[in-house]
Each structure stands twice: as C-alpha cells, then as structure tokens.
C-alpha cells in the first residue's frame, strides 16, 4: 500500500487511450498472490477473452474491474479515468465510495449463476436499476427493458419470475438487465458454465449478436474454446495470475508460442 503513486498518470489521454487498462495490478488474499503486476489493455469496442486453468485469477480480474474486489497495488483505468483511485491534490489516492459509484456506472457484469433477483419478474429485473439508480421513469425503464428482452429473444417471458425460467433464459435476462444500465464495458464470467449443453447456444448467440451489432467493449472468461476462437478479437491465456501469452485467436490457437499455452490447449481439447 506504500506504493509510489507518481508513476501512474492521473488520467489517460489521447485518441488511442484504451477503454480499460490494468496497470501493474496486484491482488492477494493474505499470503496468496492471485494476480501479480498485471498489465492488460482492452480497446474500445474490443472483445477480449480470458482463458486459463482454474484458479489462475480469471474471475478475479473481472471482479476487480466490477469493484467487487479491492486491489492491493497498481491502478485500473476505465475510459481514461482511474477506477480504483481518484485524484487528490495532484496525486492518486484510493477511490472513495462516491468516486467508485460514478465510475462503476461504466461497467456491467454477467455472472456464472445469473444472480437474477428472484422476487422480481424478468422485466422487473431489467427495470430495477434503471428506475432506482439512473432515475428513469417506470415507463421509460419498461420500454428499455422490453426492447432488451426482445433483443435476447425473451419477449414471451417478460412477466415470468426467474424460478419459472430455464438456465439459458435466466442468463439471457441477466444480460438484458446488465445492458439496461447502458454500460461501456460488459463483463462475462463463465456465463455458460452452469448451463445444460443444449441451451448454451441461446446465450452464445446473444453474445454473438452483441459483438456484431453493438460497439460494446467486452471482457469474457470462458471455457468454451470454440466460441472464444470464433468471437474474440484477442485472447489472453492466464497462468498463475499472469498473462502467459496473448494474441489473436488464430495466433493463440493456431500457433501457440509458449509451452504452457500448448499444454493448456492440449488438455482442454482432450477433455472435449
């Protein structure tokens, strides 16, 4: 925590500034260092997929960006502004709740287990935060929600509670709910891992649509190598809290350079 903050810019300028930048980010739980001096940029509109063995820190990367976890070192920037820190008298200090709240508005997240609000219908799930956080009227929020539920192909299930929806449908509501906040960056943490194989396609199709029709910046963790290869602009292979190798899908899958990448890809293809 006694890091010299002067080496971190107060903000990122220039037309080529990334939408997300992890700069020298370290995260540990007690003695366990989960992420070690991570540097990672995601450009505006880019779809970056994180793959890697279990426990390598993939989820942690997303959770830090969502502000669900604090960091122990380094700085995360979103759209040029520090997320984990804020400027005070010309230096970066840890962000307070207010700054975090303002910055968090840029980011949305979909979880492995959907985490829909069970006491609300699909449309209510989508309206909740637009009404109670953004201050939209119920009518505006409903229109926005209906549009998004149609986008994910659930116009028929608008008034159903999550308990009456399949896993694939619940995950699609969760995507609509996140989109309703109009985030600049959308995070997906193994959003198909808890789904039965036959409904995975419903969810991946929605993500495909988002990639092709919307200029969202996305950071995705997945174990579906085929989908990652098809959809990503770039793939990062994590190993023990560091990026072992990254590149375009063709580079990484077609011609992996590092021994560990080759091992990992061999292991996942054998498992299939």
């Amino acid at each position: 925590m006694n890091e010299d903050m002067s080496k971190y810019p107060l903000r990122l300028e220039g037309s080529d500034k990334p939408m997300v930048r992890f700069m020298n980010v370290t995260k540990s739980y007690g003695d366990l260092v989960v992420l070690d001096s991570l540097d990672l940029d995601v450009a505006e509109g880019e779809m970056v997929t994180v793959i890697g063995p279990s426990g390598s820190g993939k989820t942690t990367v997303l959770r830090m960006l969502m502000t669900l976890e604090t960091i122990n070192g380094g700085v995360i920037y979103v759209d040029g502004e520090p997320l984990t820190h804020m400027e005070k008298n010309g230096v970066l200090v840890p962000a307070d709740a207010k700054h975090m709240r303002r910055m968090r508005a840029n980011i949305g997240m979909c979880f492995q287990h959907f985490n829909l609000f069970p006491h609300m219908t699909a449309i209510e799930n989508c309206m909740e935060a637009p009404v109670h956080v953004l201050g939209l009227t119920r009518k505006e929020a409903r229109e926005r929600g209906l549009e998004l539920l149609a986008l994910v192909g659930l116009e028929e299930k608008v008034d159903e509670h999550p308990a009456r929806l399949s896993g694939g449908q619940q995950q699609r509501v969760a995507i609509a709910r996140a989109l309703a906040m109009r985030p600049k960056v959308l995070l997906f943490d193994e959003v198909t891992s808890a789904l039965d194989p036959e409904v995975i396609g419903e969810v991946t199709n929605v993500i495909r649509k988002l990639v092709s029709e919307h200029n969202l910046t996305m950071l995705m963790v997945t174990h579906q190598m085929g989908f990652a290869r098809e959809i990503s602009d770039r793939i990062c292979l994590f190993y023990r809290g560091q990026i072992e190798e990254q590149g375009t899908p063709d580079e990484l899958f077609g011609n992996p350079q590092r021994e560990r990448t080759q091992q990992f890809l061999r292991a996942v293809t054998e498992a299939m």
């Binding site: 969502m66 502000t67 669900l68 709240r101 968090r104 508005a105 980011i107 949305g108 997240m109 979880f111 287990h113 985490n115 829909l116 609000f117 069970p118 006491h119 219908t121 909740e128 935060a129 109670h132 956080v133 159903e160 509670h161 999550p162 308990a163 009456r164 969760a174 709910r177 996140a178 906040m181």
Partner: protein, 221 residues
C-alpha cells in the same frame, strides 16, 4: 356448577381478558418486529459502536428473565422518573424481549441471502440502502416468516406474565375466577383452550397466509 353454567357466568369476563391478550399480542408483536429489524440492521453496521449497542441490547433481553424485565420496567423505572401505565409496560416489555430474539432471526435471514444477490445489486450500482431494502430484505423475509410464526406464538404465551402486574388479560381473569370460585380445572382449563385457539386458529393461519403470499412473490406460489 356445570361447565355450561360456568361458561355463561364467567364467559364474558374471559372474553374481555382474551381481547386484552390479543391486543397485547398485536402491539407487542409490532414492537418486536420493529425492534428486531432495527437491532439486526444495527448488528450488520460497519460501526463498532452501533454494533455494540445492538449486541448489548440483545444480550440483556435474551439473557435475563422476561418476568424480571417486566418487574424492572413496571416497578423500577418509576424510581428513575419513568412511569408507564401497566398495559403499556406489559406490551413494551414483551415486545422488547421477543424483539431481541427476533433480531437474531432477521440477522440470520439477511445472512442467508446468497452473496451473489449483493454482488448483482452492486454491479448494477445500487446504493447500500437500496440493496438492502429492495433486494436483500424481500428475500430475507421469505426465509424468516416460518420462525417468526413460532416467535409470535411464544409472544402470545409470554403475555400471560403481564397478569402479574395486574393487567386484566386472559390469565388474570382466569386467576381471579379461580380465586373466587375455586373451580381451578374450569378456569385454567378454559384459559388453556383459549390460548391454544388463538395460536392455532389466529396466528398460525395468518402466518401461513403470509408465507404463501411471499412465495408467490418469488414466482413459486
């Protein structure tokens, strides 16, 4: 004296007592719920002082006897200049006592809501208060309703103690009738049955109704 005669003679007094008992139960119940939520939320506060106040309250009211608390509030508080009318002292004591037990129920129910719910609400940028009120509490209430049903029955039974400070509740009336007639089996037997009926046909169905409603809220009704 046949039991029918007993009922026609003393029924009205027992009925009056029953109404007082029900009034005590309702008022003490409302107070218990309010205290339980306040104390539970205080126990989850980041401030150690706030948590300490709630813990102390809960410890004192759960760790000592309801009867002693009643005597304290009715006989000792006046020595400090706080005099409560006996009916008021009665339901306040019972409500404060059961509220301490209820606080643990509320806290447990809040804790039982999966972490993912908090995280999803945070990811949607909801404020801490909105997260609690709009997301967590509605789900916690579903979990805590069945144990609250038991607690309300305990509370009903607990109100019988207020007869000891001469509140004219059901128990008080039964004791009075017994004192003048020595018909113990009839007096206390009838009181026993009335307590059972209020619990079994008043509290239990009301709670079941609330439980069904809350499940419907989750789309599981």
């Amino acid at each position: 004296m046949s039991y029918i005669e007993f009922l026609t003679t003393y029924g009205p007094r027992l009925m009056t007592g029953t109404l007082i008992t029900i009034a005590l139960t309702v008022l003490a119940g409302l107070l218990a719920v309010a205290i339980a939520f306040a104390a539970a939320l205080m126990k989850l506060s980041p401030s150690m002082v706030v948590r300490g106040i709630a813990t102390t309250y809960i410890e004192i009211f759960r760790g000592t006897s309801l009867l002693v608390q009643l005597y304290w509030i009715f006989f000792v508080l006046p020595l400090f200049g706080i005099t409560l009318e006996k009916f008021t002292a009665g339901y306040i004591t019972v409500g404060m006592n059961l509220g301490a037990y209820g606080a643990e129920l509320v806290r447990g129910a809040i804790k039982s809501v999966p972490r993912g719910q908090w995280e999803a609400a945070l990811a949607l940028n909801m404020s801490p208060a909105k997260r609690m009120i709009r997301i967590i509490l509605p789900q916690a209430i579903v979990v805590m309703l069945p144990p609250w049903g038991n607690l309300f029955i305990e509370l009903l039974k607990g109100t019988a103690l207020v007869s000891l400070i001469a509140v004219a509740d059901l128990m008080f009336q039964a004791k009075q009738i017994n004192g003048s007639t020595f018909l113990s089996a009839q007096s206390f037997g009838t009181a026993l049955i009335i307590y059972y009926i209020v619990a079994r046909f008043g509290i239990t169905p009301s709670m079941r109704w609330l439980e069904r409603r809350s499940l419907r809220m989750l789309g599981r009704g």
